[in-house]
């Protein structure tokens, strides 16, 4: 069987869980074993390329249904991301978590979560999908609270959101099964168009909302920032980079795998507004609101996690654009986002590893102390902001182009506004950490060890290389599009075919580098430079020596905050509070049914007898 790697990969992740339980107290062994297992999984994953399109039926029977897995092009694309990012995370944590307390269960949950994600992506029937989906969300929950105390409350919030989302999916899947009589993706897809319209709409709504929670789509995103930011930074990157995107995977599967474009357009509500358009509007809101919220974060991790939400909006806009270029852009953005956000968070983790903080008010001037982390962050934010020559530019360009050609100017404008906000906030990130004055207490710090640098270098290469040569990744995406019966994107090695809108990243990169060279030459031709210490400085007619701390970083963008603060209504936070107090109040009221008074209880029994008799008498 050619699909043996699938079984082996799943088996290896289970083995990882078991091995980590056995080696519970032996941290170094846990690290080495986990690294080896994840490396093997990546190797197996690469082998899968030749087997795309094959199905594996595991002899595990659940309710008369054998668990089935298939290697679709989409599955291959996602598993490649999952295994590679997990391996990088593990390499990074070899050093960053060494000797830290309370990491005994770290790799265990990492394996469980990876098992869940791989299973969800490989699943070829809804039962397997849901089972592993549940496992995956619980894995996320356990990963989130690795750091103990302060991470518990956001993790609990996540669980409430995630269980609600699972329950919506569950109901949707149960309805699909009741109507189509099958779990298998292929049969469900075939039977889907024959469902009654109302039922179909209900199923689509249930599952869209379910997946929207997991992909942190506005207004269901509120669980994400705190819960991701309060765990280990290496996990923040893993969770933001790939975990949130499983929701997008679900949406792709639902839209292209089951519903299909033509059908999605059938849900006309008012005029041209259909379900697809409404999801896109939420996508646009997902870009704008969280991106501008990111601007006011004073913690580097929180800032980036807010962008994690915002960037999901671009993927939604692309995937729901009904345009070959746009869909390719949306799917490509998942990969790009994963590479640059992991790069950014690894760089932040590298800074945090040495300074012990990710507070943007306390850092600054680290460029010469941690040059690799600086370069990593620089590459990452160029990608995040969607500036050439990094990969983020390519996917965003696809999405803008598709939105404009399909005639959605407002969506395109909101995407561009989002980019503006992104540029502002990533500038804050790099400025407050690496530029400006170095704080005296960080004078002696050094660059991080090689094992932590390695993932940063690898990701820098990836962000740049897939920016200049997006072709290999686009070829995978074209295969995904063909597998769903969509028109494939007309890609070339360095961009897209002139017929679809000229984009040649090689030319752009050459021009870009040429411009940089020009600036360098002008710089060299200028006056002779003199190196001065950072304290040889003045402002407002004052010399700023060591006695006067000069800190631009403190409360960066206060001006913007004055502008935006009146707009912050905290509707979501207030809704959350309202819902939780509603549940508490309901609990209190319902508890009062049990008064403790025996006479009342006896009356309940009598009343029940009367009601039952009357009810039966009326209805029979």
């Amino acid at each position: 069987m050619l699909t043996e790697p699938v079984a082996l990969m799943l088996l290896l992740s289970v083995a990882g869980v078991v091995l980590n339980i056995i080696l519970y107290r032996l941290q170094s062994l846990q690290m080495i074993v986990s690294f080896l297992v994840f490396a093997a999984m990546l190797a197996l994953n690469l082998q899968l390329y030749g087997t795309i399109g094959e199905t594996l039926v595991l002899p595990v029977v659940v309710f008369g249904q054998a668990m089935s897995f298939a290697v679709s092009p989409l599955a291959f694309y996602f598993t490649l991301m999952i295994t590679s990012i997990t391996l990088l995370t593990v390499i990074f944590s070899l050093e960053s978590l060494r000797g830290k307390a309370c990491t005994q269960a770290y790799y265990l949950w990492l394996f469980l979560k990876t098992f869940g994600m791989l299973g969800v992506v490989f699943a070829a029937d809804l039962l397997t999908f849901f089972l592993l989906w549940e496992l995956m969300t619980w894995g996320t929950f356990f990963l989130m609270q690795q750091t103990g105390g302060e991470s518990f409350s956001p993790a609990k919030k996540y669980v409430v959101y995630a269980v609600s989302s699972s329950m919506l999916l569950f109901l949707g899947i149960a309805l699909i099964h009741a109507w189509t009589g099958s779990f298998s993706f292929r049969e469900v897809a075939a039977a889907f168009p024959h469902m009654p319209e109302g039922m179909m709409l209900l199923v689509v709504l249930l599952m869209t909302v379910g997946f929207a929670v997991e992909s942190a789509m506005f207004p269901l995103h509120a669980w994400l920032p705190e819960s991701y930011a309060s765990t280990f930074t290496s996990l923040t990157s893993y969770l933001s980079g790939i975990s949130t995107r499983m929701g997008i995977y679900g949406l792709i599967l639902l839209l292209f795998g089951f519903v299909g474009h033509e059908l999605a357009d059938r849900f006309q509500l008012i005029g041209v507004i259909n379900l697809r358009y409404i999801v896109s509007i939420f996508g646009a809101l997902t870009i704008i609101i969280p991106t501008f919220t990111a601007l006011f974060q004073h913690d580097a991790k929180r800032l980036v996690t807010w962008h994690g939400i915002g960037q999901g909006g671009y993927m939604i806009l692309g995937i729901f654009s009904a345009n070959a270029l746009g869909i390719a852009g949306g799917i490509f953005h998942i990969f790009n986002y994963m590479t640059y956000v992991t790069l950014i968070l690894f760089s932040i983790a590298a800074v945090e590893y040495r300074t012990g903080t990710s507070n943007l008010n306390k850092l600054g001037g680290l460029i010469k102390r941690q040059p690799v982390a600086f370069l990593g962050l620089l590459f990452g934010i160029i990608g995040l902001a969607g500036i050439p020559p990094m990969n983020g530019f390519v996917s965003k360009w696809f999405i803008y182009k598709a939105l404009i050609t399909e005639g959605y100017p407002f969506l395109a404008i909101s995407a561009i506004i989002g980019t503006l906000g992104t540029i502002l906030s990533v500038y804050k990130l790099i400025h407050n950490i690496f530029l400006g004055q170095l704080q005296p207490e960080y004078n002696e710090i050094k660059e991080v060890p090689f094992l932590m640098q390695l993932p940063i270098w690898v990701l820098m290469l990836a962000v740049f290389a897939t920016g200049v040569f997006p072709g290999p990744i686009l070829s995978l995406i074209a295969e995904i599009q063909s597998s769903f019966g969509l028109a494939p994107v007309p890609y070339t090695m360095t961009g897209v075919d002139p017929a679809a809108g000229t984009l040649d990243m090689l030319v752009i990169t050459t021009v870009f580098i040429g411009g940089l060279l020009l600036a360098w030459i002008v710089f060299l031709l200028g006056h002779k430079r003199r190196h001065v210490s950072q304290y040889q400085n003045y402002a407002a007619g004052h010399f700023l020596d060591e006695s006067i701390p000069y800190n631009f970083n403190y409360n960066f963008y206060t001006g913007f905050e004055h502008i935006f603060n009146p707009m912050k209504k905290k509707v979501i936070a207030r809704t959350e509070v309202a819902v939780s107090s509603l549940v508490e109040a309901a609990g209190d009221y319902l508890r009062r049914i049990y008064t403790g008074n025996l006479a009342t209880y006896a009356m309940y029994i009598m009343a029940a007898l009367v009601v039952t008799s009357l009810f039966l008498k009326e209805l029979i």
Partner: protein, 498 residues
């Protein structure tokens, strides 16, 4: 061949034996009761292949139906007997160390009577016998609830006693109505001739029966005694009461409804009441600060779920309900047993006092964790499969009403996850509560040493946990037994009256 009557006789005779032994050697009573249960459990398992072939009918006192008294053991009865016996076996093992006062003998005797009552209820083929066993079950549980003899448990027991008596009375009235109309007490016989009764009589019998046994089956709003009784009984008894006693009453109710009162309206009423129970139980549990009350309310919720599934009246839903009964028996028993030693160690019932306790009672904490996840329905634990099959069965029954009720069931699951996760996070906090730091076990001293429950108490708890994790591997054979039980139940259903 083992005569099924032995399943009832062995524990019953052991009760007399224990009372004798107790005069001279009170130490042996617990061991004796354990042995009796072990023996009975073994016998029940040997009956399994035979019962799967055909139900066994045992006639007592030499006369056949409709006059004689009989036992009728089909797959349904045997499945429930196995649930009862296995749970009791493990709980009685736990009781060795947990019940350590001088009244051990009384405890062991009543414990066995509780089992006798439950076994009798599920095995009898005679509706008056059903009443007798019901009374045995109720009376022994009233006393066991009061076992700790403190203010709370006495109050709870009195309430339970009075409300339970109303229930028994109603049950008796229902039986009297049936006997007056048909002149027989044999259930199969009544079922064959129940159509002869005038509709209003039949409705009266149905209403009295449902409400009467509903008190013990903890159906809303008849379950008001439950939070007090289950929370103030000794934890081992709470485990029994929550683990199988309510469920036994519930299944007997459904069995009788199936065979005697198959009104479509009654099924709908029970399904709605089940979901209402579930929501009330889960929401009320959300606000509990006392761990045992929280577990008791959670039982109300779970029983609501089981009732909902049972009253859907489809084979798939009934099978799913049986799986859920098994899951609840294992998970809730484990939770009550674990909390028993947490209460002993910290001297508190308040969840707030258990902060950080899992670090000093790692095994208990881990079992609690597994049991909670299984109740919420997290794969790959057993609870996932039972909850999954309930939802699937409910939705595929095809009616809009059932789908809406399923939506409410899923809402209940979210609330359930929220309050259980809160407790779990409390257990795993780094900063221990004062009560946890001050806790000492009978062996060790010092704030860092383990205060884990003794091994004898942990083994049965671990067995429950092992079942919840590994039970999936047995899913095939368990489903097989549940399927046979479903067939057994549906064979009684002649036709549903609209």
């Amino acid at each position: 061949m083992v005569n099924p009557i032995m399943l009832i006789l062995i524990p019953l005779l052991t009760v007399f034996l224990i009372n004798l032994v107790n005069i001279k050697w009170p130490k042996f009573s617990a061991g004796l009761s354990f042995l009796a249960i072990a023996l009975t459990t073994g016998m029940a398992f040997t009956l399994l292949p035979e019962v799967m072939q055909a139900p066994i009918e045992v006639v007592i006192a030499g006369t056949k139906a409709p006059i004689g008294i009989n036992l009728l053991i089909g797959p349904l009865g045997l499945m429930l007997s196995l649930i009862i016996l296995v749970t009791s076996l493990l709980v009685s093992m736990y009781s060795f160390s947990y019940i350590s006062d001088e009244r051990k003998g009384m405890y062991s005797g009543l414990f066995l009577l509780l089992i006798v009552g439950s076994l009798g209820m599920v095995m009898t083929g005679d509706i008056f016998n059903l009443f007798v066993f019901f009374e045995i079950l109720c009376i022994s549980s009233y006393i066991l609830v009061a076992y700790q003899r403190n203010e709370h448990s006495l109050e709870a027991s009195i309430k339970y006693l009075l409300l339970g008596s109303i229930g028994s009375l109603f049950l008796l009235i229902s039986i009297a109505i049936l006997y007056r109309g048909l002149g027989t007490l044999n259930i199969a016989d009544i079922a064959a001739r129940v159509g002869e009764l005038p509709p209003s009589t039949r409705i009266a019998a149905a209403a009295f029966f449902t409400i009467g046994i509903g008190v013990e089956a903890a159906i809303f709003p008849l379950n008001s005694w439950l939070p007090d009784a289950h929370s103030s009984a000794p934890s081992s008894i709470s485990a029994m009461l929550s683990g199988f006693v309510i469920e036994v009453a519930l299944v007997v109710l459904i069995k009788i409804v199936f065979s005697l009162f198959a009104f479509a309206a009654l099924f709908w009423l029970l399904a709605v009441v089940g979901v209402v129970s579930l929501l009330i139980g889960e929401f009320a549990a959300y606000r509990q600060e006392n761990i045992k009350r929280m577990l008791a309310y959670s039982s109300i919720g779970q029983v609501g779920l089981i009732l909902f599934a049972l009253s859907l009246g489809t084979e798939a839903a009934t099978r799913a309900a049986f799986l859920q009964i098994i899951n609840h028996a294992a998970a809730k028993s484990a939770l009550f047993l674990v909390s028993g030693y947490m209460i002993i160690r910290t001297g508190s019932y308040q969840i707030a006092d258990y902060r950080g306790i899992a670090r000093r009672m790692p095994v208990s904490g881990f079992v609690f964790f597994l049991a909670v996840l299984s109740l919420v329905g997290v794969p790959p634990l057993f609870g996932f499969f039972s909850k999954f099959s309930i939802v699937m069965a409910a939705v595929s029954s095809g009616s809009t009403g059932a789908t809406v009720l399923t939506g409410l069931v899923l809402l209940g699951t979210v609330v359930e996850a929220a309050y259980f996760i809160r407790v779990l996070q409390h257990f795993y906090q780094r900063e221990p509560a004062k009560a946890v730091t001050a806790a000492r076990s009978e062996r060790g001293a010092g704030a860092e040493s383990s205060i884990e429950a003794p091994i004898a108490a942990m083994l049965p708890v671990l067995a429950f946990a092992l079942f919840l994790t590994g039970g999936v591997l047995l899913l095939g054979s368990i489903t097989g037994l549940a399927d046979a039980a479903v067939q057994d139940l549906f064979a009684r259903l002649v036709s549903v009256l609209a």
